[in-house]
């Protein structure tokens, strides 16, 4: 099939199939998503996965790349500003410039990021409306108003592709508030949204805590750490248990933390998901210890196995200048203090696909740390006072070469 182009002097130049396909292959995925509807031929060249020359066939990969992290400060006057950094220097030339613009346009909406999943962000604005946003295509979807007013609810967000031959995703959102004091048996009102029904539904659930505890609410941990096979997990800073919610059979339970002599729940501990498994990390400032949940994720009895232990600060101190921490370490030496005082891991995030890589916030600098090789790399400077950055929550952004659609 050939498209003809009529020139001013009435001669006709042909745009043959190859030229169009060649040009399409040079376009960013974001543009392809919009040019899908130029004509039936273009739709075929771009999206027909049965054709080996189609853009979709060449770009589709089942596994996403981690491209970076979105973050937002909750406790500064500029708290609505959403920022982004790349997980390494190698990835930022993929589609970097256009992604940055996209983040800025998100920021102008005055929204807060609540959770991220599979390349999509769940955001919330001041009026309480939730949005699902796709940074790769700048598509955003405003959800219907929630039915129940909740102050600082716990939120869970699962985004997945049901049919591998289609680009459309389905998502589930869960929100609830914890009662302040636990009875032995307690009830929780939980509201869920499913993209299939497009409505919020409220349910009352019975939660079986393992004893009495007083959760300390904090913005940072109110969003889910992620989901495995429909089970969402939350962990409160200082909490003694992990909260689990099964979005399939709609039940709540509490999961014990690693039972280890070293284990002391503290603010800077971390719960995260990588490559389909749940990880808990103890942060002692200088050293970190990581456990993996070995038991079935639907099992009520947690079995944790310690897999990594590393003195990360001693590795970083071998060359603090490489991580932008040089001045700090030097001035400490001048005062006769040798060692790692002042240089501490403030918070951490696990790589969503590679469980032995953690991103550490060390005095406002983000450092990636490989727990298998003890190699540390400088990733990002928040450019803020270090004591502010410890409250930043990082939302992993996984980039699909082929954009998924809402």
């Amino acid at each position: 099939m050939k498209r003809l182009r009529r020139l001013s002097n009435n001669r006709v130049v042909e745009f043959c199939e190859d030229i169009i396909i060649n040009i399409l292959h040079c376009l960013p995925s974001k543009s392809l998503a919009r040019f899908n509807c130029v004509s039936k031929d273009w739709h075929k060249y771009i999206a027909d996965s049965s054709l080996s020359y189609s853009c979709r066939f060449r770009r589709w990969r089942p596994q996403p790349n981690l491209i970076g992290f979105f973050y937002q400060s909750w406790e500064t006057p500029k708290r609505s500003q959403i920022r982004f950094f790349f997980s390494s220097n190698e990835v930022n030339n993929i589609d970097g410039s256009s992604l940055d613009e996209s983040v800025n346009s998100l920021g102008r909406k005055r929204v807060y990021i609540v959770a991220s999943s599979n390349g999509f962000l769940l955001c919330n604005d001041l009026t309480g409306v939730y949005y699902v946003y796709n940074p790769a295509t700048r598509q955003s979807l405003a959800l219907p108003k929630t039915q129940i007013d909740m102050t600082d609810p716990f939120v869970g967000f699962i985004c997945k592709v049901d049919d591998p031959n289609k680009d459309v995703i389905s998502f589930t959102i869960v929100r609830y508030v914890m009662p302040l004091v636990w009875e032995f048996l307690s009830t929780i009102t939980i509201e869920t949204f499913s993209s299939e029904t497009n409505v919020w539904t409220a349910n009352i659930k019975i939660f079986e805590p393992i004893g009495l505890w007083l959760p300390i609410l904090d913005k940072k941990s109110s969003s889910t750490c992620g989901a495995i096979d429909g089970v969402l997990f939350w962990w409160l800073e200082n909490g003694r248990h992990i909260t689990a919610y099964d979005s399939v059979d709609k039940s709540f339970w509490a999961l014990e933390l690693p039972n280890d002599e070293e284990m002391v729940p503290r603010r800077s501990c971390y719960l995260g998901i990588s490559s389909g498994a749940l990880y808990f990390a103890l942060n002692l400032g200088e050293a970190i210890t990581v456990w993996r949940l070995e038991s079935n994720i639907r099992s009520r009895d947690a079995v944790w196995v310690r897999i990594y232990k590393a003195n990360v600060v001693s590795t970083i101190l071998q060359c603090p200048e490489a991580y932008g921490l040089g001045v700090n370490a030097l001035s400490l030496k001048e005062f006769g203090i040798v060692g790692s005082i002042g240089i501490k891991v403030q918070s951490m995030v696990i790589h969503p696909a590679i469980p032995h890589i953690f991103y550490l916030d060390v005095r406002g600098k983000v450092i990636s740390y490989d727990l298998e090789t003890d190699i540390a790399e400088f990733v990002h400077d928040f450019g803020e006072y270090w004591w502010r950055t410890q409250h930043f929550k990082l939302f992993a952004y996984e980039w699909h070469q082929w954009p998924r659609l809402l």
């Binding site: 182009r5 745009f15 043959c16 040079c26 130029v38 700048r138 598509q139």
Partner: protein
């Protein structure tokens, strides 16, 4: 037909669409797969290219000359030349791309396609249809479904089809 020679170098004549003639060294046109085959198999000395405008042909010959002079030491200069080369109105860039595709000059084709992609990547669907003279063959129902699903695809950068 015998090819004419002056000294060591073979000379070839290309005839553009407006019957303008371009005389150049045969070695230059070997960068084009199409012309290379013509020269080698048929030993012609004059090749008519009625579908290519003279203006376009001038540009392409200019590129062939520059590319033949490319050495590791003037790489930077060549890159700048390439940048300038595609810095023409979109209509002209498309003419060049079509001609380069016809002549099968592979390296230049990739470069031109990337240049076209860079120009159109932010344009609206309507603008792209205008540029490539495409009539939408979707039914009005399908069309309105697209507009509902991806309204942003139809927004912005509408009439600016020339740059």
């Amino acid at each position: 037909m015998a090819s004419s020679t002056t000294g060591e170098k073979k000379i070839l004549t290309l005839k553009g669409g407006d019957n303008e003639e371009f005389i150049l060294e045969e070695s230059l046109v070997l960068q084009s797969e199409l012309l290379k085959n013509m020269v080698k198999e048929e030993r012609v000395s004059s090749i008519p290219l009625p579908s290519i405008k003279s203006k376009t042909l001038v540009k392409i010959i200019e590129y062939l000359k520059k590319h033949a002079e490319l050495t590791p030491s003037n790489k930077e200069e060549f890159k700048n030349f390439e940048k300038e080369f595609v810095n023409v109105v979109l209509e002209e860039l498309l003419d060049i791309t079509v001609a380069v595709n016809y002549l099968k000059i592979n390296g230049l084709l990739e470069f031109c396609c990337q240049a076209v992609a860079d120009r159109i990547k932010d344009k609206s669907v309507e603008a792209v249809r205008k540029i490539f003279r495409i009539e939408s063959d979707f039914t009005p129902e399908e069309e309105s479904e697209f507009r509902k699903e991806t309204p942003e695809a139809f927004e912005g950068d509408l009439d600016d089809t020339t740059n």
